[in-house]
């Protein structure tokens, strides 16, 4: 039983790692009060997803999918790399927008702590 688990873990450890990193990011996104930390959490979350995708692509003994002369070269699956390239760009874009928003919030409210922002918001009501 334990052995099975260990084997399961050892053969899939990077999926598990990706999951753990995802969870860290997700926790930060929800629980952190500082808006910048939320964005950092968001980045961690996304990075973990990249890791997940890249793990999917891996083939044992494979090399980067750039053709080299030779017949029995094993290449890793190129498709997830492409997807993740796209996802990275999306992540960068979202981060940029998030920081821009955070900057504007700081300019308008003078703080980026969510608790204080909520208080300020309710006072104005």
């Amino acid at each position: 039983m334990i052995e099975d688990l260990v084997v399961a873990f050892l053969t899939r450890y990077n999926y598990y790692m990706a999951v753990i990193i995802m969870l860290i990011g997700l926790y930060a996104m929800i629980a952190k009060s500082n808006l910048i930390k939320k964005v950092i959490g968001l980045n961690i979350f996304q990075t973990a997803i990249y890791l997940f995708y890249i793990s999917i692509a891996d083939v044992e003994g494979g090399t980067a999918p750039i053709l080299v002369p030779g017949t029995d070269v094993v290449y890793v699956n190129p498709l997830p790399h492409v997807l993740i390239l796209t996802a990275i760009v999306v992540g960068v874009s979202i981060t940029a927008v998030a920081y821009a928003l955070a900057i504007r919030i700081y300019q308008s409210y003078g703080t980026i702590e969510e608790d204080e922002l909520l208080e300020l918001g309710s006072e104005r009501r």
Partner: protein, 92 residues
Amino acid sequence: MKRWAALLTVIVVGALLLWAEGDMPAFGDPDAPAHAHVAPRYIEEGAEETGAANLVSAILADFRSFDTLGEITVIFTAGVSVILLLRRGERL
């Protein structure tokens, strides 16, 4: 309160993912379905068909180039977003 909500979310999401990960094909398994369906053609014929040795580029700029168009639209959108949010006092 918020912390507990976050923790709960994390636990649920984590449990789901870990549950699924147990069924995943082993890391690096060359027989995984992911490598069996669409990918082989990219690897075997992609270079000849597109003239690019870099298969990632071949897919990025040819097979799935529409994704890439979407992608630079995303980044363009982000650029305009930042302009819209932050730039002041100028035209544009």
